[in-house]
């Protein structure tokens, strides 16, 4: 899989309210040897965070509440600034219905370590994870 990091010992927190997107990433990450804890809402994620310290988090920006991803990202960093967070955003071009983060200013303010747009290519996610887990 080209993962040079010792992935077997790494726990990934996965948060997305789309059950299929969540399942797909979970299955692939598990096949790549990661431990995965998955949450379908911000609340579930906060509950998991109280028990476990993940080595990295992949968070969907758009959940039940428009700012669910933001505040979750903020809480993760508040708990431990060392946990890398990858934020995933929906692609908006086709319908213009979803909120997206457009400017660098906004991105800087949110303090995520990496951004990916849906649909997420697994190799791309792996590359970002590898980079952040090494650092």
């Amino acid at each position: 899989m080209g993962m040079s990091t010792d992935s077997a010992s790494k726990t990934i927190l996965l948060v997305d309210d789309d059950a299929d997107f969540l399942a797909q990433l979970q299955l692939q990450l598990q096949a790549a040897g990661f431990q995965v804890i998955a949450a379908e809402s911000q609340q579930e994620a906060e509950e998991l965070l109280a028990e476990t310290r993940p080595d990295l988090a992949v968070v969907d920006l758009m959940m039940e509440h428009v700012d669910g991803g933001f505040s979750l990202c903020y809480h993760i960093k508040q708990r431990d600034p060392q946990i890398p967070v990858i934020l995933v955003t929906g692609v908006t071009a086709e319908t213009g219905l979803e909120f997206d983060v457009a400017t660098d200013d906004e991105r800087a303010w949110i303090k995520a370590d990496a951004w990916l747009s849906k649909p997420v290519r697994f190799e791309q996610l792996q590359r970002e994870m590898e980079r952040l887990l090494k650092g």
């Binding site: 059950a19 997107f21 797909q24 299955l27 598990q30 096949a31 319908t95 213009g96 219905l97 649909p119």
Partner: protein, 397 residues
């Protein structure tokens, strides 16, 4: 009260003043839009001045003298035609010349008034123009609103179809690339989820077809004497297996037959949407109670569940298209977001309405009323627009 701007263009000051006086206290009542229209008059002494004023702020109605020194009335008319404004022109012709009137009308004038005219003739022409203008603007506004609603609907629809496609595509890619390993149990899970999403898309498309047929009035309605209780019975039986899987009891409370003139297919759509929602959004081992009753020429269908319920705020938008309540408890429940919107439209076809009473964690009761002997006219867009018109006018006024 609406105010229309009139610009009087004449080189004779006496003429301009006369027109202004005649219209000062004049108002037009338009029962069509339930509104009163007043007029504000401004003056221009030449074609040049008129064009300047029109450029600055186009009037609603232009009273334009045909014979002007310099830029003529017809020149002004030509320049107006090239601009994207909806000013109506009443051409004032110096002589009772039919030819001038015809030329002016061909070049875009709405009406003409022959000198000399009485204040009553002037008011008559202004009344006609004002009515035309107000109705035209209103029709345009309604058309624009309709277009906007249509556009939003299609945007959301595209989104709702794109989501399951993306999910199915995701599973297929993972299987093709083998990126989730080769465990048969995992493969089977991915196939199952794909099939579930395909089923969701199918339901959405079928609901969409129902909605389109009902909306366009194209659905061939077969009105016959139908016993609502018997329809409720058969729909209930059809959904019983689904309910039993989750230990939910479904009971029909109908003491005697309730006959009405109806399209059986439409009644089935209403009942199956309500009952299947009551099952889907219920708790395990809950209850669904279906009531069918009639009094005073009105049939009432009620479906009560012991489900998750909703807040008043959530209930307020529930009958709109693609409104689905999103929270941790509804997340895994599949739905097109069109079912209740279809129920409401069918209720309207029968001169009735659909409503909901709900309490979080206790349950919801959906009630649909239908007129027993309703107008058999389907609610076409025209009929809907005609009904919407007085309302729109009130809002504007």
């Amino acid at each position: 009260m609406e105010r229309l701007e009139i610009l009087v263009v004449d080189d004779e000051p006496g003429m301009r003043l006369g027109v202004e006086r005649a219209l000062r206290t004049f108002s037009v009542h338009l029962p069509e839009v339930n509104g009163e229209i007043e007029f504000a008059t401004a003056q221009a002494a030449s074609g040049e001045e008129a064009l300047e004023r029109i450029s600055a702020a186009p009037p609603d109605i232009l009273l334009l003298d045909h014979k002007l020194p310099g830029v003529s009335g017809l020149d002004v008319l030509d320049q107006l035609a090239a601009r994207p404004i909806d000013t109506l022109t009443i051409m004032i012709t110096a002589y009772a010349s039919l030819e001038t009137a015809i030329t002016a009308t061909k070049r875009g004038a709405f009406d003409f008034l022959a000198k000399p005219f009485t204040p009553e003739e002037l008011k008559g022409a202004v009344r006609k123009a004002a009515k035309h203008l107000v109705l035209q603007r209103q029709a345009r506004k309604l058309a624009e609103e309709k277009r906007q609603i249509r556009f939003e609907f299609i945007s959301v629809l595209a989104h709702e179809l794109k989501n399951p496609l993306a999910a199915i595509e995701g599973y297929l890619r993972i299987m093709k690339e083998g990126s989730a390993g080769n465990d048969p149990a995992v493969q089977a899970k991915m196939v199952d989820r794909s099939l579930v999403r395909i089923e969701g898309m199918r339901k959405l498309i079928l609901d969409l077809l129902d909605l389109t047929r009902i909306e366009s009035g194209q659905k061939r309605r077969e009105l016959a004497r139908v016993d609502v209780c018997e329809v409720a019975q058969s729909v209930t039986e059809g959904l019983r297996a689904e309910a039993q899987q989750r230990g939910i009891a479904v009971e029909l409370h109908a003491t005697k037959p309730v006959a009405m003139a109806a399209d059986r297919g439409e009644l089935e759509i209403v009942l199956s949407n309500l009952i299947s929602n009551a099952i889907k959004y219920n708790r395990d081992d809950g209850r669904v109670d279906v009531y069918v009753g009639a009094e005073d020429g009105q049939v009432t269908i009620s479906v009560a569940d012991t489900g998750i319920g909703m807040t008043q705020e959530e209930a307020a938008h529930l009958f709109q298209e693609f409104v689905r309540i999103k929270n941790s408890r509804t997340r895994s429940i599949l739905g097109s977001g069109l079912g209740l919107s279809i129920v409401r439209r069918i209720a309207q076809l029968y001169g009735g309405h659909a409503s909901v009473r709900s309490e979080p964690d206790v349950g919801s009761t959906f009630t649909v009323t239908l007129q027993r002997d309703q107008q058999t006219q389907p609610l076409t867009d025209d009929a809907a627009a005609a009904r919407a018109a007085p309302h729109a006018a009130r809002v504007e006024a």
